[in-house]
Chain length 352, copies 2
């Protein structure tokens, strides 16, 4: 029995008949046919996801999950591990990039401690769901146990259920974790069969010798653990991270709740690879927010068959790309629901 069967994932298909109705309305709006491009396809997709002819994305939430990575010991990052918890504190004070961009688009940020390597002071806005004090060093063995991976995934799903109860129309994903581009490159290499050098980048901005250590660490992690690409849960357990596993749960939970899930950058993308590997129907619920500067992200999106909405040379994570794209998704729904048709506006149609 595949381990993933214990997760009991039930994702419905999107609603195709409503999507056709949405297309018909889009075709009658006062604009040349198809002239709002990807905003139109986005609106149609969100109709299919939400099973709502006139979706409104007023309640927007970005779930930013933080955790530490044992592989940081291998000297793969430009920043010390303590930055993970310091940045969580920064999120809670509202001074980080994600806070600024989420406020800009009217989204709430839910900050989750999935496994930061230190005790964080309690804070009313911090969701504490620590699976452990950071993963184990993947160059020496699996990042976590199967039980931990399943618990982290379930945590992500539970958080979505909680947000649905509070009221949410769209979810964005975000991450924080020193060392997590290393884990994401390992996941991407394992899941897509791409050579490590092609999916490994400079993360937070590492120099040549750190980059060489990072490449070596990923190669070692894959050689030591031999993750099985046909079993995404195995890959996650062996070379993943607690925040990545949590995000797998957020993505699965979002799809299960029929919510559009806006996937941030490379780390969220690695989580999406695992989630879609577990259940391919998840893909229809995903919106790729942007193309990260991390070279592996391009491979992730290719593998998922997703085209990013934005290409702004971002590589911060935290959910910053997701925040910007959520605003485009909201704009797309407003096009569908607020624009008038040719008939309503008394505008003449095509003559040729």
């Amino acid at each position: 029995m595949r381990l993933s069967s214990q997760l009991d994932i039930q994702i419905e298909d999107v609603e195709h008949s409503l999507m056709q109705q949405a297309q018909a309305r889009l075709d009658h709006l006062t604009k040349p046919l198809g002239s709002l491009g990807r905003l139109e396809s986005l609106a149609k997709q969100i109709v299919g996801i939400t099973r709502t002819a006139t979706p409104r994305l007023s309640q927007k939430v970005i779930i930013t999950m933080a955790a530490d990575h044992g592989v940081a010991q291998a000297g793969v990052s430009a920043y010390p591990q303590v930055v993970t918890q310091q940045m969580v504190a920064n999120f809670l004070r509202g001074g980080a990039g994600i806070n600024v961009l989420a406020r800009h688009v009217g989204a709430r940020v839910v900050v989750v401690d999935m496994g930061v390597a230190g005790d964080l002071p309690s804070h009313p806005d911090l969701v504490s769901r620590k699976i452990g004090y950071g993963t184990r060093n993947i160059t020496q063995g699996p990042a976590m146990t199967t039980e931990q991976a399943c618990a982290a995934i379930q945590t992500g799903r539970d958080i979505v259920v909680h947000e649905v109860a509070r009221g949410v129309d769209i979810i964005g994903t975000g991450d924080m974790g020193i060392g997590n581009t290393t884990a994401s490159s390992a996941i991407t290499a394992a899941m897509t069969g791409t050579p490590v050098e092609q999916v490994t980048g400079r993360g937070t901005g590492i120099d040549d010798s750190t980059y060489a250590r990072k490449l070596y660490a990923i190669q070692q992690a894959l050689a030591v653990n031999m993750p099985d690409p046909s079993d995404p849960l195995d890959v996650l357990t062996k070379v993943g991270g607690f925040e990545i596993a949590g995000l797998v749960g957020v993505i699965l939970g979002g799809a299960q709740a029929r919510l559009p899930v806006v996937v941030d950058g490379f780390i969220s993308g690695a989580a999406a690879l695992i989630a879609v590997g577990l259940e391919s129907r998840v893909k229809n619920y995903l919106l790729a927010s942007h193309l990260s500067q991390e070279p592996g992200h391009c491979r992730v999106l290719e593998s998922l068959g997703l085209k990013p909405l934005l290409d702004l040379d971002l590589r911060l994570g935290e959910g910053t790309g997701a925040a910007l794209a959520i605003s485009l998704a909201e704009a797309a729904c407003k096009v569908l629901t607020e624009m008038t048709t040719f008939e309503e506006a008394g505008v003449a149609g095509k003559v040729t």
Copy 2:
């Protein structure tokens, strides 16, 4: 004497020392160096344009100019000419794409009749500055007189002055005019020396025979008028349009008022080609909102040396791309002014 000298264009250079200060602050914010990519360069540019260390883009205005084109008689569009005035009425009722997207980003839309071929009912939100009832057919002679071109440019500049008095922090450009991709292709071919076929697209969605007529009309317009690429005002006069000339004025006026000007798509881009041709310093004040599906737009942006912020397969015009990009510009300024620095947040810096 070049005709353009009578326009008395005075554009200052952007403020480089403040841009350096902005870069220094961006480099201290709690994020890896440069990790917010184009948002960072955008913030820096806006600091330079506005001469403000902490710019706020709270007052956003999109100036959407409408006019008709005599060349519509040549059967170059999929829609009848009356659609121009019907769409102006739609703008005033708030049901068009630009209304929806401008509301989404918190921008006002200023609708200007620069030369619609019909009398529009007066409306409190319509700025009536009709230069004529549509241009003349460019396949038979110049679109307008030099006096008309100068008057239209001056109108655009005056409207910006008026908006500055009301309070505005950023301007977006927009257009409406059946036949105006034909004029814009002619301008682009003339100004950049690119073959007509490479800068001519399907506009609102024309069929093959209409496309053949459109190509022929543009070639004829260039052959009959022989616009002089070294004299942008000559090009504008001979193959332009009243709304395009008005937008040239908006762009010049925006730069003169030290405002960031967000250029919409192909038609606004053709206006930018003329404006930058008249005064090259204007270029530093421009933000290219998106890459239109119109093939000529790519050539326009190349020629201006501008990289679009968005690529969403839009080809509606009206200022819709500018509206979406204005939101990114605002986000960029908030990154600069609202994010905390490493020092303020007590977050450790790089170790390698």
